[in-house]
Symmetry: C2
């Protein structure tokens, strides 16, 4: 039976189901209109329920950030899973077990050491299987991956093609700077740059008789209304399913599309300090964003004159941006909702997500933890 | 059977058992020499095993930061538990259940609203029980609690004394600024200030015929070699059991006493950027400290020329402080240990602690999560 949001113990992470469904549907439509495959990333939520919504019930074609996620989804009927993380030797054993279980499991190779490791382990592959590889390119922004303009990427592709036990699934490029450009025309220009560099790498491989498509990730770039994005074969966004204050600032979403918040209660008044205290400390809200925006790193919903100015383990300090804060307007016990700067970082702090429709709690979701 | 630390999947939170035992023993000795009661705080670790070490096997007399902790310890044979958090109405029901179960359960009252709530609920108390109250004083640093020099604290104490269903266990004071003073003589002076303010509140209550002792918390002040600390009746430190880089900077411990680290592996090289990448992102290491010390917010153990300059969800960027970083010195797969700025914040990110003696993993501990 549904209960009221206000009956929940605070702090807690609350997720608006309707907005999640809308965000999932909008990204699916974007992909459809660009004629590309959506491979949603599960790193933001790490729950079966959201992955089912993201895949529109198919449970096929997802990207994960940890082996713990890959195993959790594989154990629960998901398939066609990409471990979207540089492959290293310590991960091989569990990858092989995943290949036994799944029809399709892909790994990401970001450097020659990764390729060496896979090659060394071909004897242990399940019978009839090959390593399915996404080769990661760094478009010039210093993320993981082969430099887009290096000869290394061509050598790696040739090496994969020559091996009977490796398959080049695609190239993969992450627009690493998409989180630092707040101006729309600059963002479009940067993404066009990424596309032209990807196209260059793709052409150089084609000249070697290696045909391959290119996938990309990141919510800001996948949210761009850019016809040129049709160049890509796959989108791997993750954060879009919840969004957050940062994505709103980046122009990826409207504020009304943000599906996740931290619910907190006022626990004390400090009129001398012009502050109220709430039960939201750094175990409930990530410090993410505090370095970039110390005065404005999250939003107190519906009260634009309030700001969170500090947190200890279980206590948050809220002050007024302008003028005095009249504590009488916030009696002890008052519920406030905080929109996090980074939804992924804040979700990662919570063992349970409280899923609501309007002010009613419908259910809870339990994310998988660890690595 | 014990396994090698190096066989663990990374990132992971590793705890040095010997150091934990030493840190526990040292704080017990300090309390013994000052003739005061140790009520260790469990917020840092949230595990049965560490609480057992902290209480020297007695499982009696602990402080907790959340109801989830209180219930977990109560369900596992611990007793005499203080919920060291401002009591609010939404917590009452679970507190009453804890009182049913425990011989001794104490709540912390930090304002009049807390006292109103307890008074309103006296009819629901288990038969023969009273609310056992620690009255929190704010020594002037803007933490939760009644201002030490206010008449309110006297009124609250009188109100408790008059009630048949409330018992004033003690006053409680937290030296809120102990985390911002890095100079020893200033720290001593600040603590003497806290003591004189506590003594003033205590004397004013005595004048009203209310005798009560004073407890205090915080690892920096409990670690001070200050004879005046004998004024207190109880110490409630928490962080001391693991310590961290911040406590080392504050002078609370030697670097060799820090018992917790994050183990990580090198996953990629970025020679153009003078960087190596490791599998330690913000899901494994808290951003805590990055605002205060952007260039030096954690330590890469044993390699003083390295520093962590940024993190995404699952990746950390490590650069050289001076000169070029020769990636060949850090082959992919190399294990590094990171000493966190704030051990409590980093521990809170991990579902499992890997407990080691030297380089051997002895066991795992599972902290309780949530609120």
């Amino acid at each position: 039976m549904a209960s009221a949001l206000s009956s929940l113990e605070t702090p807690c992470f609350v997720v608006d189901l309707k907005k999640v469904v809308e965000n999932a549907s909008r990204m699916r439509e974007t992909c459809k209109s660009l004629n590309l495959q959506l491979r949603p990333h599960t790193k933001t939520h790490k729950t079966l329920e959201v992955a089912e919504i993201q895949t529109n019930g198919s449970k096929r074609c997802i990207a994960v950030s940890t082996l713990a996620e890959a195993e959790y989804f594989a154990d629960n009927g998901f398939d066609d899973i990409l471990l979207a993380y540089p492959i290293t030797e310590n991960k091989i054993k569990r990858c092989l077990a995943l290949m036994e279980k799944l029809q399709l499991f892909h790994v990401m190779v970001s450097n020659n050491a990764g390729l060496d490791t896979l090659e060394k382990e071909v004897m242990r592959l399940p019978s009839g299987k090959k390593w399915s590889i996404m080769l990661e390119i760094d478009a010039g922004y210093g993320r993981t991956g082969f430099n887009w303009d290096s000869k290394e990427i061509e050598d790696a592709a040739v090496r994969i093609k020559k091996s009977e036990k490796m398959h080049l699934e695609s190239l993969y490029i992450h627009c690493g700077n998409s989180y630092s450009i707040f101006n729309n025309s600059e963002k479009h220009a940067a993404q066009k740059d990424v596309i032209s560099r990807s196209r260059s790498a793709q052409s150089r491989l084609k000249a070697l008789n290696i045909e391959c498509q290119v996938g990309t990730g990141s919510t800001p770039t996948c949210s761009l209304p850019l016809a040129e994005n049709a160049f890509f074969a796959e989108f791997h966004p993750g954060n879009y399913i919840f969004y957050d204050y940062e994505q709103y600032l980046l122009g990826s979403c409207k504020q009304s599309s943000i599906a996740c918040r931290v619910m907190t209660r006022v626990i004390d008044h400090k009129p001398d300090l012009n502050m109220i205290l709430v039960d939201c400390g750094f175990t409930a809200l990530s410090h993410d964003g505090m370095r970039q925006r110390p005065e404005d790193f999250c939003l107190i919903e519906g009260d634009s004159n309030l700001r969170l100015v500090g947190m200890s383990q279980e206590i948050g300090k809220i002050a007024a941006k302008e003028g005095e804060l009249d504590c009488r307007n916030y009696p002890i016990g008052t519920i406030l909702f905080i929109i996090p700067f980074h939804g992924c970082a804040t979700a990662a702090l919570h063992p349970t997500f409280y899923v609501h429709s309007g002010t009613e709690v419908q259910t809870t979701w339990t994310p998988v933890k660890g690595w």
